[in-house]
């Protein structure tokens, strides 16, 4: 089924108000959830809203705790998320990184003690909309093995790199696992194998079986030992820059809360790249799309499809899972 953008936002807003959010915070939080579904990433949008409410009821997410500044060193600031809602904290800290970059060319905010930011790409779009290159990453609970390991030790630690571009921003939003557990579960429900190796079975062999990967919680790091290394370093950076918890500490509670995140902005105007940036990006994209292909398929680039998806969903309503939507409506 499809539901209109405004209708979704209004409903989420009412529910958040009932759950202790102040008006402004309920509104922004609703927009951030809806934005994810609007852009075709329902897995980190509406699909997560029921879990988000559960986290609020467990008092792991505190609706009206705002992020507060801990330390300021000019370009670099450290903030405490005070266990507030992850999307609001992330939005606030990316906004702060944007502000710093508008003044100093570059702005970096490290955030400790925050919660799941839901769709990572939102904050990349936020930076790009403000005319900034935006880079951000978060740690997570342990959900991938170290290279050679037989238990989850690494987070899939999503990384976003966003570049402003007038024809639609270029936004890479990638977790360090080849497939998300959400995607694995979808294939499992449909009784299908994954199209590529997705993790390890109980004997440590690469497997395409979603059942096996889920059972062992051994999702495959992108690029095998390389993604395992990148995941580790992102966790280390988020932890030491924010002064917060690392993936293994997040894992200790059995719940995924109190995460560490980093937000980096470079303001295109302030560092003098505006005059050539568009032209150079267009040339790169045009060369990429001129590539010969094996299957005659179109070559895509990160974020390239989003303006069209957004337009379709604005016109025809946002696709929502009927079961999820019913469970949300019940909260009204």
């Amino acid at each position: 089924m499809r539901v209109a953008y405004q209708e979704i936002i209004q409903n989420l807003e009412k529910i958040l108000l009932k759950n202790g959010f102040t008006e402004d915070r309920a509104k922004l939080c609703s927009i951030l959830f809806t934005q994810a579904s609007l852009d075709g990433v329902a897995s980190h949008g509406l699909d997560r809203f029921p879990v988000f409410l559960e986290m609020i009821r467990k008092k792991l997410v505190l609706p009206n705790q705002e992020a507060s500044i801990l330390d300021s060193y000019g370009v670099f600031e450290r903030w405490n998320g005070n266990l507030g809602p992850g999307p609001l904290n992330a939005y606030q800290c990316m906004d702060r990184a944007i502000q710093i970059s508008k003044e100093l060319g570059v702005g970096i905010v490290a955030l400790q003690n925050t919660n799941h930011w839901m769709r990572a790409g939102n904050y990349g779009w936020q930076a790009a909309e403000a005319g900034c290159i935006g880079i951000c990453f978060t740690n997570t609970k342990p959900n991938m093995p170290a290279w050679g390991g037989s238990e989850p030790k690494l987070g899939n630690n999503p990384l976003v790199i966003a570049i402003p571009h007038s024809d639609g921003h270029i936004v890479l939003d990638m977790a360090m696992s080849q497939f998300s557990y959400g995607k694995l579960k979808t294939y499992l429900r449909e009784g299908k194998e994954m199209p590529f190796d997705a993790g390890f079975d109980a004997d440590g062999n690469l497997t395409k079986s979603p059942e096996s990967v889920i059972a062992n919680e051994l999702a495959l790091p992108v690029g095998l030992w390389k993604g395992a290394g990148l995941s580790l370093l992102l966790d280390m950076l988020a932890t030491i820059l924010s002064g917060g918890k690392s993936t293994f500490q997040v894992g200790e509670s059995g719940e995924e809360f109190s995460l560490s995140q980093v937000f980096i902005c470079l303001d295109a105007e302030k560092i003098g790249i505006k005059e050539w940036s568009e032209e150079k990006l267009d040339a790169i994209i045009s060369d990429l799309q001129s590539s010969s292909t094996f299957v005659g398929s179109e070559i895509r680039y990160p974020g390239g499809k989003i303006p069209e998806i957004r337009k379709q969903n604005m016109e025809h309503g946002i696709p929502v899972d009927e079961k999820i939507w019913k469970s949300i409506i019940k909260e009204l």
Copy 2:
């Protein structure tokens, strides 16, 4: 065979002096090549020295051109490599990023019109030795396909993330291809298949055959479409930040020169993370290494083996390929 560290440096230095380098530059350049081999990365150390000399003879690498500043915006600077030797330009720009970060907490230098920096990790070690978190990346000529593409369009664009750590710095040095062409050629010579999928065959199927991957120049991006995306974004960032050439433009000449690079530093002391950084890193490493394993093998982390390799090679001499060493000695 093994050759002593100092002996290698002295020989390289003499050869560079004969090839037009001034004394200081010959010395530093020799150290950077030797450092790579010392750390066990001969593929980007001594093994490349003959190719480096060839690039000098072709006048694609200009021995005494120094990098010069183009624009300064406080934290962010843009430099021109003036087609000087890649290792010297990279060292100079990472040094400049370190200096800026010592003053402002963060320093970013984008470098255009430079040459192959040889071993990427060197500049990560350089930053970490100076007490800085260092992040750097470079573009390359096209040597990987876009996702779905049947010709090389993306560079394997190495990325380095380095974190200072008193027990040996943590340095991730990863190209965006699962295996380097150097590694593919080694397996081909030995008549072996790669241990994991390494690229595509002429029909676009994943293959472990080094012969097939090399013939089609279709090395596999790490994490399939994810690494393809990351590679593209790194090229875009290097290009627009430096104002220099992108991967496809580098590819147009048929030679790999005039690259774009970015160097980022955060000074640990200046941003107030020194008091907890060691302890947090030790805890993460200790948790990682406590992982159960499938094969009883030790869990490694990026850079973790280097202090031991370095010690061994300092004591017993650096392993060098006999044929390569002979061809180098001939240049004396």
